[in-house]
């Protein structure tokens, strides 16, 4: 015989099978994200795994956000929040297979990817004045069709914040 207070306690928590089932639902979610579709991971911003599945895209377009700096290279107070954003250029379609620019633990590959961006950035001569520090390089995946560029539809964004650093970009500019 279960008394009324005890019944109230029982109602507070899920009973029966569900508490035993729940942990295995989490396991299924992990397996599904790992094998089937990592992109669908509900906490996608956390980048569950070090390398995500490569995109089915044909090109990467990137833009660089810069911020004015003082002579020491520090961001000028109050200016960083109005960062200038420039569309700098487009990578050669042969880079389509590189997929994500930043989200990889293969640092050699990352270095190559970053270098591709550096080359494009420096060749554009659009940024890297001595008074500006690169705050961010943002990469967009763009869809192509057989007829050519089909109204660049930005699907996913990724960005480089500090590993493709100011120092690297500055030295590339020199």
């Amino acid at each position: 015989m279960v008394d009324e207070p005890e019944l109230r306690k029982q109602r507070r928590f899920p009973q029966g099978l569900f508490p035993k089932l729940w942990p295995w639902l989490v396991v299924v979610a992990v397996l599904w994200c790992g094998f089937v579709d990592i992109e669908a991971w509900p906490l996608s911003g956390f980048h569950l795994f070090s390398q995500r599945r490569g995109p089915n895209t044909s090109a990467l377009v990137f833009e660089v956000t810069t911020v004015p700096v003082d002579f020491k290279g520090n961001a000028k107070p109050g200016v960083s929040e109005v960062a200038q954003r420039l569309t700098v250029g487009e990578l050669d379609p042969s880079y389509s297979k590189i997929g994500w620019l930043y989200t990889t633990r293969d640092h050699l590959e990352r270095k190559r990817r970053c270098q591709a961006v550096f080359d494009a950035v420096t060749s554009s001569k659009a940024v890297l004045a001595t008074s500006q520090r690169v705050l961010e390089v943002k990469v967009h995946r763009v869809s192509y069709t057989r007829a050519g560029l089909d109204s660049p539809k930005v699907q996913v964004k990724d960005s480089i914040v500090d590993n493709c650093s100011t120092h690297d970009l500055s030295s590339a500019a020199k």
Binding site: T65, S80, L108, L135
Partner: protein
């Protein structure tokens, strides 16, 4: 009449055989849960949650599930979430009453703080392992000693299931990190100068004797290749720990060593990965069959 009992017994034994636990899985699970509470408390105490405080608002891109965040969290809100999460963690560690709500609150706080940290484009998966492991325990009810035996059996069953699921989650998350490396880079991830490059890169982030150590390691080509191969091999073989108890502690120690070396030489804090792994896998050692503690507790009633 006996058919349901036979079926239930068979199911239990299959699960027990698939993910074997110690002599007293309920006590093992209770201890593990308290230690996971300590891991949560550690993350709230040492986690770098204020990185977004100085970022430009236009760079803020939260993950889809947190798209309702309109901008980086205010430092005061971050402090409040840390405090709330730490309080919840303390309930998990020290209290029987309120343990469940404490765990849910701590998990939500850490998820929001992690999402805030991961909203400025950089790869931020420092909290992923602890969030996933703790997620398995979120539905474990907490009954006190005055509850009916039926209630306590529900709790004990859920505790043991959560412990088994935690072992599987840790094993599979490590496996997928290795699997994705193979997909993305192939064996050259390990057998190339990849790790050497990582260490050269990381030396600039740490400084002092740690930078010297990283540079010295980076120059040992064969050693870095071997270490990277061991790391990749352990990640790919980690699912074996689901089935073989004896492998859990050694694998956990190897991965803890890996995360510690990353912290020392590259400066990245992955205690949110190493500690849950050590807690869940390391408790197996604490309750190893034949140990005094294990022997003393085998007389307690168990339900799996």
């Amino acid at each position: 009449m006996s058919t349901p009992e036979i079926t239930a017994s068979t199911k239990t034994s299959l699960l027990e055989r698939a993910v074997p636990l110690g002599a007293n899985p309920v006590m093992l699970a209770r201890t593990t849960l308290r230690l996971l509470g300590a891991v949560l408390l550690w993350r709230f105490a040492v986690g770098s949650f204020y990185q977004t405080a100085t970022m430009a608002p236009e760079l803020f891109h939260p993950p889809s599930t947190f798209s309702w965040l309109t901008g980086p969290l205010d430092p005061a809100v971050i402090a409040a979430l840390r405090t709330l999460g730490a309080g919840g963690s303390c309930l998990v560690i020290f209290a029987k009453r309120g343990r469940h709500i404490g765990l849910v609150a701590a998990w939500i706080c850490l998820a929001v703080l992690g999402a805030n940290n991961g909203s400025f484009g950089k790869v931020m998966h420092n909290e992923v392992m602890v969030l996933l492991v703790v997620a398995a325990w979120l539905m474990v009810p907490a009954y006190d000693s005055h509850s009916t035996r039926q209630c306590q059996q529900v709790e004990e069953g859920a505790l043991v299931c959560a412990l088994r699921a935690s072992i599987v989650i840790i094993a599979m998350v490590y496996f997928f990190t290795g699997y994705q490396k193979l997909l993305g880079s192939g064996l050259s991830w390990a057998w190339s100068d990849n790790l050497s490059w990582v260490l050269h890169d990381g030396a600039g982030a740490v400084g002092g004797w740690r930078a010297g150590l990283a540079q010295a390691m980076a120059q040992q080509d064969l050693l870095t290749r071997l270490l990277a191969s061991i790391a990749l091999g352990c990640e790919l073989l980690f699912p074996l720990t689901i089935f073989i108890r004896a492998m859990r502690v050694p694998f956990a120690l190897v991965m803890a060593g890996l995360h510690l070396s990353i912290y020392v030489m590259v400066g990245l804090d992955y205690s949110g990965w190493a500690l849950p792994c050590l807690v869940v896998m390391g408790c197996q050692l604490w309750y190893w069959p034949g140990s005094k503690r294990s022997a003393a507790e085998t007389t307690l009633p168990t339900t799996a």
